[in-house]
Amino acid sequence: MLRYIYGVDLHKHPLLRDTMFRDRAIQFHERLGWDVTVDEKGEEHDQYDALNPLYVIWEQPDGRHGGSMRFLPTTGRTMVNEHFLHVTDGVRIESPLIWECTRFCLAPDAGREVSAALALGGAEIMANFAVEHFVGVFDARMVRIYRLLGMAPEVIGQVGEGSDVLAVGLWGWDDAFWPRTLNRLGIERETSLDWFRQSFSAIPPTKKRILEAA
């Protein structure tokens, strides 16, 4: 299932959290060879993990991480505005209607459905929170991966050559995305909305009706 978890709440899901940071080390350090920091536990963390981002995580049936991505509002600190202004023609991409999406990561054994599920999570965020765009930074290999997954971003600008290319890109709303993705996952929209509501409701299920009763 998909879970939407803020950084401050990750401790409630220790297995999911630990396997996510480990899979990030495998993907970004071992497979893509990015200059990222891996700690003694074999986990990859960066400074943006400390800013209480919202993680969208695919949880496998055994409770482990299947894939994830990380969101931060562009009205606060973001990777793109702190490090990549030279790629965006000096435009600081800042708006409550644009969130930054980084650290898109798949577990080594993740099936194709996991990336579809993550894309669905992004679309639910847009639909439910009036977010109009996601902005992100990625390298040439990630562009190919995104394209294979049918979720190619629109590249705003890029620097570097060949395999050293770093690009800033955008994802926008796409009506055609919904039926295609739900179909691929074999679920109804209602299932996706249930996952979403479960994550964002602070209410214990048994105590739901108090506001209406009041």
């Binding site: 509002p73 023609d89 600081r92 708006s95 209607l97 109009e132 214990p204």
Partner: protein
Amino acid sequence: MTDVLESYLDRLQQATTLEHLQQSTEDLRDHYGITHVVYHWVSSVGEQYGAGTYSTDWVDRYLERGYVRVDPVVQGCLHRFHPVDWKQLDWSGRVARELLADALAHGVGNQGFSIPIRGPNGQFAVFTANHSCNDLEWSRFVQANMRDLIIVAHDFNRKALEFEGKRDLAPSTTLSPRETSALTLLAKGLSRAQAADQLEISEHTLRVYIEAARHKLGALNTTHAVARALNAGLIVL
């Protein structure tokens, strides 16, 4: 409808005192035809500041009772950056139930939609639309107005930062060269496609540059952003 909202935002932009901010919450309440509109800044040391249409009785009671420490709306928005419907919050504890009953008795509506705002250095505020109605009516209202309410919320926060003498912390209102070119071309009547073509960027990229400019200008939409940029002399035709 949108034009009216734009004029209220223009009035908010002109605000120089807390009374003006107060007037803006009343404007918005009447514009949307809802029970209350409230902007509530809570500092890290628990100081509070704001403007809104809640009765002074309720505000006094809220402060006197120290409700901010147990208010599910404040607590539920504190470590979040997505807009929150009050129905998602946990009102089940005894203190929260008492707060809710007390609020309703003081004319606060049963439905609420709150937008957390994070400024520089951990600054935190909540902007709330509140109403008395059933769930269906409320979800329709929220769906129809969420985007605009998010924009309005950030406009209030920009003003509040300005009042607190933190103008330098509020989003900058100087446009980058790219933003200036994009808005200038639109002001000249070019379509988005034409403007993107002329700037040799994709239409998608242009939209995001315009969105960045819109946010800086505190405008409701592109047309409004162009008008504000012209008024402020940031673009010249």
